[in-house]
């Protein structure tokens, strides 16, 4: 049956050479409790591809066609979106949801469509020997947990012994991801780890903050998303928890998370995987996309943290397409070629400069065995007076000696339970 469908699909594609274009589905969520994060990301993602179309005539001469689909951060809707868009020749999926990612990993692997979960999704997908079709460069949750702990070590002269750290997390696959890494790190560095789950969608956090108020931990780490972030920062302000000791991961550090708490949010820290500030490419987007009336959404998210991250995700996809086009010598690439392109992707500082986004992310190379990238992150701090994020550190590297064995262990367990044969990456 599948073969029949594939043949029909192949027939369709062969019959329509006029449809030569690069199809990029955008599984966005502009509704529901997570829309605050979903909208700017999707705006950035779409605007960048529209910029490439308008300014450069697409990638390698091929126009990009974006196929949008609303998931509302709901896994069932995400599956529906995946099924309804994959037939159009989708090159890459970036669902921006760990729950949807877990649904799509087996499906995309069988269908042979690459999945890029940038800094979210299944952490152990970094092991390319097991997860052939899944990529999570430039970093993952375990990296970000390790980066935050490394930052704290740096702040405390190399020792966290006896310190108490609370992890306030979204009670879902997303929020539970860092727990294993933090447990290993807590043993290694001797800090006490307390886990405080917050249930979907995250508006009810009274109990959790009561406990934080009672125990006064040295640090609170947050793995939140959507409305949970705003509520947590407000609650922290209410109990006068020092913002300098409250650190969010890279999904808990956007403008809309901190603005509602007003001046009380000043000093809140968060991790970021991309740079902030004025990038030259934003002027191009303004000129070619927004002034031409093609802006995604209402167009007022340009330059926000998540907008830049969406644009960064689009840039990585576009660069992978370009790499694939060069590797295979054709401009109209297939999902399989796209995968090859992603696996040989090399992002250098010069290239980012050339693209008008210097320092937007770390320089890295993807390899057959390592789909995870370097996992570096920056710490940024909220300046409530100017309503902007200020980068306070350079890119901090995670402790690979901690995360690598965990990735190895988890991916091997997955390979065993799903009967996956390891790829040979040696040659």
């Amino acid at each position: 049956m599948k073969r029949l469908a594939t043949m029909a699909l192949a027939g369709l594609m062969a019959a329509g050479p006029a449809m030569a274009e690069l199809v990029i589905p955008d599984l966005h969520y502009r509704t529901g409790p997570y829309a605050a994060g979903g909208i700017p990301f999707s705006d950035g993602y779409q605007d960048y591809f529209n910029l490439l179309n308008a300014r450069d005539g697409g990638i390698g001469g091929e126009e990009v066609r974006i196929v949008g689909c609303e998931t509302a951060y709901n896994t069932e809707r995400g599956v529906e979106c995946y099924e309804s868009t994959k037939g159009e020749g989708a090159l890459i999926y970036q669902p921006l949801s760990t729950g949807i990612t877990y649904q799509l990993i087996p499906r995309a692997t069988v269908d042979g469509i690459p999945l890029h979960t940038m800094g979210y999704g299944r952490t152990s997908a970094a092991n390319g020997e097991v997860f052939e079709w899944v990529f999570n460069y430039p970093g993952n949750y375990w990296d970000s947990a390790s980066v935050i702990v490394n930052y704290l070590l740096d702040q405390n002269e190399g020792s966290l012994d006896g310190q108490s750290i609370v992890l306030l997390y979204h009670n879902s696959a997303y929020g539970r991801e860092p727990i294993r890494t933090l447990e290993v790190l807590s043993e290694q560095y001797g800090f006490d780890l307390t886990l405080l789950p917050v249930d979907h969608p995250g508006q009810e956090q009274g109990n959790q903050w009561l406990q934080i108020r009672r125990e006064r931990p040295d640090y609170v780490l947050m793995w939140g998303w959507g409305v949970m972030n705003q509520v947590a920062i407000q609650e922290a302000a209410n109990i006068r928890y020092p913002m300098e000791q409250f650190i969010g991961n890279w999904w808990s550090g956007a403008e809309h998370d901190a603005i509602p708490a007003g001046a009380a949010a000043d000093g809140y820290l968060s991790l970021n995987m991309n740079g902030v500030g004025d990038l030259p490419v934003l002027d191009d987007i303004q000129q070619y996309v927004h002034e031409a009336g093609m802006a995604a959404g209402d167009g007022n998210n340009v330059g926000t943290v998540l907008y830049i991250r969406g644009m960064y995700a689009a840039m990585l996809a576009a660069e992978a397409i370009r790499t694939a086009q060069e590797m295979h010598g054709v401009s109209e690439i297939t999902p399989a070629m796209m995968r090859d392109g992603m696996e040989s992707l090399s992002i250098t500082a010069e290239r980012m400069e050339e693209l008008g986004m210097p320092g937007v992310g770390p320089a890295f190379e993807v390899t057959c065995a390592n789909h995870g990238g370097p996992g570096m992150g920056r710490i940024q701090q909220w300046n409530a007076a100017d309503q902007e994020w200020v980068t306070v550190t350079d890119f901090i590297a995670p402790d690979d000696s901690v995360t690598q064995p965990l990735v190895e262990e988890d991916s091997m367990a997955f390979a065993e339970e799903s009967g996956i044969e390891l790829r040979d990456c040696a040659n």
């Binding site: 509704t31 689909c69 609303e70 896994t75 877990y102 649904q103 696959a173």
Partner: protein, 358 residues
Amino acid sequence: MFYREAGDFKTSYAADNQTFAIRFDRHGYYLLLAVAIFVVPFVINDYWANSLLIPFLIYAIAAIGLNILTGYCGQVSLGTGGFMAVGAYASYKLMTSFPWMDMVSVTLLSGLITAFVGVLFGLPSLRIKGFYLAVATLAAQFFLVWLFNRVPWFYNYSASGQINAHERSMFGMAVTGPNAEVWVKYLFCLFFVIVLAWVARNLTRGSIGRQWMAIRDMDIAAEIIGVNPLRAKLTAFAISSFFVGVSGALLFSVYLGAVEVGEAFGINKSFLVLFMVIIGGLGSIFGAFAGAAFMMLLPVFLKIFGVDMMGWPADIVAHFQLVIVGGLIIFFLVVEPHGLAQLWRLAKEKLRLWPFPY
């Protein structure tokens, strides 16, 4: 003209009691079954199966289950999502603890486990009624979701707290897991739908169904004429939960493949199934199918109409969907409380008289 009962003589009690008394109906039903079994599997593609047909079949089972409890026995339940979660987690535990077990047994056993849990939560229904029972079942919903989130044993201590369906085969064909062909999944769900709908239809028109309806219409009067309320209510809870559990198990193992309890089986799921029952028609097996089809098709229809044809932004269409569903529920409650099933019945009445209505 085409649709009539004239000349369709019944010569035995069995013939008189059959579900589809009119020959045209009966033939239509057989034709539908034949198409569903012998034609659809050969023409189905991934999109139709995964976006429409498989969820429709699975939710139809849940809607039948809730209809037994709410429509036939009159016990309002807001715990459907929680009971579906019981079915899903039961099938996960069975699949991982007994890897040799076939999926039909796993699914039926999950239904039985859910039936047991349903009876436990049904016990208070002997004392509390109406709104108060709705609140008690709401508590079941939140308690069950909390339980599956809280106790790691249920998800085999996995780091992400998710449960994943591994590949299981029947007759050499993968039924679950990513390698399962869609037509296998479709037929597997269809098998359960046909069998369970047949069981439900025959239960509801037999002695036990009449007891349920007596309790629904007036419980004191029912008790006086000799209906045991304990037995009637608990059987309704058990059988309803069995159906809901089977649908939860199928939703997890066959359709989704990976489930996070709060997200997949939250309160929204309870409302979704309740809306299916209300829009479809309380106290009607056909209504359960109609409601499930309606609630599954509406978003897809709106998406195709709004986004693909009219080119409206996807978020506007998604918001409109909420407005339309809400409006329709109010409309049905006001204008036609018996739902789509009643519209269908009226249409049939008209067709019987057509072209000479009196």
